[in-house]
Amino acid sequence: MSRVLIVEDEQHLADGLRFNLEAEGYQVSVVDTGEAAIEALTTAPDDFDVVVLDVMLPGKDGFEVMSEAREAGQFVPTLMLTARSRPEDVLKGFAAGADDYLAKPFDLSILIARIRGLLRRREWLSASRHTSHNANISAPAASTDVLRFGDKALDLNRLELRVREQVFHLTLMEANVLRYLIEHAGEPVPRKKLLEDVWGLHEDTDTRAIDNFIVRLRRYIEDDPTRPRHLLTIRGVGYRFVAEP
């Protein structure tokens, strides 16, 4: 039975979500403050399979909860739920480490589908690996879920990036962005295309918000993030991934 943590201060919404998710067969816990969410996620990191996190919470808001949980090494798939649905807010949620984002008011069937999607996403990531067409990317015979470039390896099953002896845990969205860039290695990838293909955002969004993600990815994959060799900026366009610099 999958376990869901709901972080929602609006009692009515929390009760309604609990009723529906329990009816779907999930085991549900509810907390109503950001502080309680961080405590639940950090003291018992393996207690939850998915988190539904509201943004506007008393005290620490959802963005802060997300960032702190990720910094503390908690990488449970998280769906952010919020009344604020501007593209900037969506990107802010993803930049904080969220895996998915749903605006209120939401459709119940969509919410449940998204939660199921988060629980299934690892398999999806692995499956999509097979669409990779770049000659520079090779998977070892032992595992088809690992994309290698240079002395680094992106494990899509474990959502880990291994850089020599170091292991970085990635969020689903970070893994998605990196996978997308690896799959398009050598090609210039415009920011707008990244937003459309990875985030599914088609509105007139401030594409620079994506830069936060790139900064984080560079910290993982570059020896010197100020002088990137794998993840290059193409001024006025976007980025280009180089597998073997």
């Binding site: 609006e10 009515h12 919404l13 309604g16 529906n20 506007m56 009344a83 604020r84 209120k104 119940l108």
Partner: protein
């Protein structure tokens, strides 16, 4: 988060303003040292420096005020977005639940109750935003009628007891007949706001006392006293500003930051006043709304 970003941005501009004033003064001191023998130049210099400093001070002042306004506006948009979308999200969630799942009779009744609460919350937010717009427009004169204020307060108390499911012991009312000449609709909204606030902020164990009295034979006064979380002294005036919400534990209570602004605006439009008293955090609050008695 909003408070932190406001402090940061305002701090930057205040520091910049202070730095500029320091640079001007240093340049001026240097200039005086070079030209101290020439009286006319010295006078001109003093005048120019005074003008420059006044300009920088004014610029910093207006800049900081504008930043505050923008951030209050953003906070308001966020609060209203939240206050409009949250009850809609809740109503929709329960409707979809009722439509798509087998729900027993007891749960069904509970869900109907929740949806009614949420629709009342939604309606209240819409009314507050519309009323603020009307009051803010300034060109609408109050539609004055002569009525007994204590009857209106009685109506508001009965409505609040029903809405918040409170007993007469939890929400008490002592009245005195008071005839006023005022806009009935606005006064009713103001008094309802005060009572709703007192109940909302008191939490599950609300104890609210409402009283109407005559003050100095001139004013009809409505006092709403609660045993809730109280208000920090520094916030007693600010809470009546538009969009303002007290930071801290009470910020989790839903609201748009418009209710008390409406209360004070209505009082002022009738030649009256409204204020808050509190012994401090944890010691309850009293809100007073006064309008002149009809002659």
């Amino acid at each position: 988060m909003v408070v932190v970003s406001r402090k940061k941005s305002i701090g930057l501009f205040i520091t910049l303003g202070g730095g500029l004033i320091l640079v001007i003064l240093l340049l001026y001191v240097g200039w005086v040292l070079l030209n101290w023998r020439t009286g006319a130049l010295l006078f001109l210099g003093i005048l120019l420096v005074a003008m420059l400093i006044a300009g920088v001070v004014l610029n910093t002042f207006f800049l900081v005020r504008e930043i505050r306004r923008n951030e209050q506006h953003d906070a308001f948009i966020n609060a209203v977005t939240h206050e409009l979308k949250t009850p809609v999200a809740s109503i929709r969630l329960y409707l979809e639940t009722l439509q798509s799942r087998p729900v027993d009779e007891a749960k069904r009744k509970e869900f109907y109750g929740i949806m009614l609460d949420d629709s009342a919350r939604l309606l209240q937010t819409i009314e507050q935003v519309l009323r603020t717009g009307r009051i803010g427009a300034g060109n609408r004169k109050p539609s004055l009628t002569r009525f007994n204020l204590s009857t209106v307060v009685d109506e508001c108390v009965l409505r609040a007891r029903a809405l918040h499911q409170l007993s007469p012991e939890q929400l008490t009312y002592h009245s005195a007949p008071l005839m006023v000449l005022a806009d009935l609709d606005d006064v009713r909204a103001a008094i309802s706001n005060l009572i709703d606030n007192a109940v909302k902020y008191s939490g599950s164990d609300a104890q609210v006392a409402v009283e109407t009295t005559v003050v100095n034979k001139k004013y009809a006064s409505v006092q709403v006293r609660d045993q809730g979380p109280g208000i920090p002294k520094a916030e007693l005036k600010s809470i009546f500003k538009r969009f303002h919400r007290v930071p801290g534990a009470t910020s989790r209570v839903p609201g748009t930051g418009l209710g008390l602004y409406i209360v004070r605006s209505v009082a002022k439009r009738h030649g009256g006043k409204a204020w808050a008293e509190s012994e401090g955090v944890g010691r309850g609050s009293t809100f007073v709304f006064q309008v002149p008695i009809a002659k």
